[in-house]
């Protein structure tokens, strides 16, 4: 009798575990999912970035659900680096959300290359994407000749300065590289942090570095470097590293910038403690959503002294899961097209950044966006962390830090980069 009790208890416990296992399919336990309505709803998971500049997505998703009562959107958002990591985690267990935000280039190509993202080429044909989205954005969402993303934003980068610092020091935006460097010194002496960059994560300072490469190496060499067809152990790269070191030693960067969060660097700009930053077409809306006045800031092209003067550009897109059911895919495409539709963009135009969609209104509140986009019309290069394979860009981040900290000389850093590139090339050509 007592034995039976014991046996029973053990069985109950094992059973409860097994039951827990079986409950997997119906246990989408998020509260949002419990609102099963009268009709059968399609529930899709959406991942986007979070933080300033992305608040509008929440509202847009809300509207989408109201307009499409049969679709339910479970929206999760992440900051930049967690986004990259969480997508990879999801990829490794094949549990991608149904629709996710990603960048172009080597960051976004991982998912198509591994069969995780849906080929949208046919949809693009049917829905006439060529007339809806910017051609460059479509190209940058295309991998191996197939379209794998709904283009969301096409961003160009630029130098931004605070008018306050420039007025206080009686300066005009620099026209030559020499002038740019003079201004750094003047701004420094006037008590400003000349260059607001934060190297945590690596990519912020990289934006300055790639402009230096463009300046020293010229467009042709720069493109060859990015396509791994030129040696990284060359003069332009060494000079770039040397400049980063020089600026570090002259304290042009914020104190402790090697481990500073890029958002904190932005904050130094908002507070007018710093003078110059490199940000993109989205920065107008970041300034607005952080509660500051865009008219306090100006933009200038980095004087690369090359022709054309090229800024860096990158695309952002929404990819759809290849493994999701057809209903979910259809709903996800609908949501993706909605979030990039003319009406939604016009509604949120002040905070949307630079849309990849054609024929949308321009924002009065984003006075600098057009100027930056125009600067890319003569030519542009793809931003380094999307042009290079991820292992190599990590090497670059490490090299940047090590040079700044004096661990490596610029020559050493260039050699290390070159070594990593050669290893990568030989490994992938096997």
């Amino acid at each position: 009798m007592k034995r039976m009790l014991m046996l029973g208890l053990t069985l109950v416990m094992v059973a409860s575990l097994l039951a827990a296992c079986g409950g997997g399919n119906n246990s989408q336990s998020s509260p949002a999912n419990q609102a099963d309505g009268k009709q059968k709803k399609v529930s899709i998971a959406l991942w986007t970035l979070s933080g300033s500049g992305w608040e509008w997505v929440v509202e847009a998703v809300e509207q989408f659900q109201n307009e499409n009562p049969d679709i339910e959107v479970v929206h999760s958002s992440y900051a930049v680096d967690p986004m990259k990591e969480n997508l990879k985690v999801a990829a490794s267990s094949k549990t991608m959300p149904d629709i996710w935000f990603t960048w172009g280039g080597s960051l976004g190509s991982f998912y198509p290359e591994n069969g995780l993202a849906l080929d949208l080429s046919e949809i693009a044909e049917e829905h006439n994407y060529a007339e809806v989205y910017n051609k460059a954005a479509l190209d940058m969402s295309t991998f191996n000749g197939k379209l794998y993303g709904i283009p969301m934003r096409l961003n160009a980068l630029s130098m931004w300065y605070t008018k306050e610092a420039y007025e206080a020091t009686n300066l005009q935006p620099p026209a030559t590289f020499a002038e740019f460097e003079e201004q750094l010194e003047i701004l420094k002496n006037a008590g400003y942090i000349p260059l607001a960059f934060g190297s945590k994560g690596g990519w912020h300072t990289m934006r300055l570095a790639e402009l230096l490469i463009e300046h020293y190496g010229g467009p042709e060499l720069h493109d060859q470097l990015l396509s791994l067809s030129a040696s990284w152990d060359n003069e332009a790269v060494i000079q770039t590293f040397a400049k980063l070191k020089e600026y570090t030693d002259k304290e042009y960067f914020p104190k402790g910038y090697v481990s500073l969060d890029p958002e904190e660097a932005q904050n130094l700009m908002y507070q007018k403690k710093a003078a110059i930053i490199n940000e993109g077409t989205w920065f107008d809306s970041s300034i607005i959503t952080s509660g500051f006045d865009v008219n306090d800031f100006g933009v200038f092209k980095f004087p690369t002294e090359q022709s054309p003067v090229r800024p860096s550009v990158f695309a952002e897109m929404l990819q759809i899961s290849a493994d999701a059911s057809p209903e979910k895919q259809a709903a996800a495409i609908k949501l993706g097209e909605y979030l990039t539709s003319v009406e939604v963009i016009n509604q949120f135009v002040d905070v949307y950044g630079s849309p990849a969609t054609l024929n949308v209104n321009t924002s009065e509140a984003n006075p600098h966006m057009k100027e930056i986009l125009d600067s890319a019309s003569d030519g542009a290069f793809q931003i380094m962390d999307q042009a290079l394979p991820q292992q190599l860009i990590q090497k670059w981040f490490e090299a940047q830090d090590r040079v700044a900290l004096g661990d490596w000389t610029p020559q050493q850093a260039a050699q290390e980069m070159d070594k990593a590139v050669q290893e990568y090339v030989s490994k992938n050509s096997q």
């Binding site: 034995r3 046996l7 990591e85 069969g115 290390e416």
Partner: protein
């Protein structure tokens, strides 16, 4: 017959979960460490021990991470355990307010690594943080540092935060150990005219031997597994100087999708912990016969 099966029935739930969550996955990751794989592609390439060879001969960050873990272990054994023991001895006396003191020293251990990281990152903030402001206050402005941005200091700065957090653990274990020592040997020693140091050295330490074993073991495992505080404070930077095996494993696996290399790192971790701990397990179970 049934009595033979019965113990297994009691063990069954724990055993099933244990096998599913710990045993099978860790062996499987040993298997994965012999492959080159991005975690998604259908084909895995068998590379034998190449991943391990790569880590020890080519990877530039792995040696740093390994050495950081070993330094961390040494620091924990000397400082964390030392401070824990010292505090336990001080609190073991019939002391007014000892519960309060114990609570204060133990309290940080209750916090998550993430919370500790957030608190201390703010303390180390180069412009507004506590350390630099205090240095400025006492006129040592030249000593101010971007603590987490200097490879020279970053690891130690993180370790200091971890020390603050972790001292509670050896402290409680030592207090528990001390409280099980009876009074008589001390009384005898006192009558024999032994000095305080002598009675500590000849009575307390030997009787604490078993406590030491468990404290050393937990401290070492803790040091090898350290992750969240590093991840949240520095993310392994600057220039990978604060990378530890766990964080490196995380980045290799989940940022660069090098599953094979990530698994190899985790097995290096397992092997180190095993070398350190097998004597401990042997000791504990051997004593259990008594």
């Amino acid at each position: 017959m049934f009595t033979k099966v019965k113990p297994w029935l009691y063990l069954l739930p724990a055993l099933i979960i244990y096998l599913t969550v710990i045993c099978f996955p860790s062996l499987y990751s040993l298997y994965l460490s012999f492959f080159e794989w991005n975690g998604v592609a259908p084909d895995r390439k068998f590379v034998g021990l190449d991943n391990y060879v790569y880590l020890f001969t080519k990877d530039t960050v792995f040696p740093t991470a390994l050495s950081n873990n070993l330094q961390w272990m040494l620091g924990s054994l000397v400082l964390m355990m030392g401070l824990g023991l010292a505090l336990a001895l001080m609190l073991n006396k019939r002391l007014k307010g000892r519960t309060w003191f114990r609570g204060i020293f133990y309290f940080p251990y209750v916090l998550s690594g993430i919370v500790v990281a957030m608190v201390w990152t703010w303390m180390y903030n180069p412009t507004q943080g506590f350390f630099n402001k205090v240095l400025e206050l006492v006129g040592l402005e030249s000593w101010t540092q971007a603590w987490l941005a200097e490879p020279k200091f970053a690891l130690y700065a993180v370790f200091l935060a971890a020390l603050w957090q972790g001292v509670g653990q050896p402290l409680v274990l030592f207090i528990a150990g001390l409280s099980s020592i009876p009074d008589d040997p001390y009384e005898a020693a006192f009558i024999d005219g032994a000095s305080k140091f002598q009675s500590f050295y000849y009575i307390t330490l030997p009787l604490l031997r078993e406590t030491f074993v468990i404290v050393v073991a937990t401290t070492m495992i803790g040091a090898m597994k350290v992750y969240d505080i590093v991840y949240a404070m520095t993310g392994g930077g600057p220039a990978e100087s604060t990378q530890v095996l766990s964080s490196l494993m995380y980045y290799q696996t989940f940022r660069y999708a090098n599953i094979g290399i990530g698994s190899a790192i985790s097995w290096v971790l397992v092997l180190i912990v095993m070398i350190v701990l097998i004597p401990y397990v042997y000791y504990t179970t051997k004593r259990s016969h008594v």
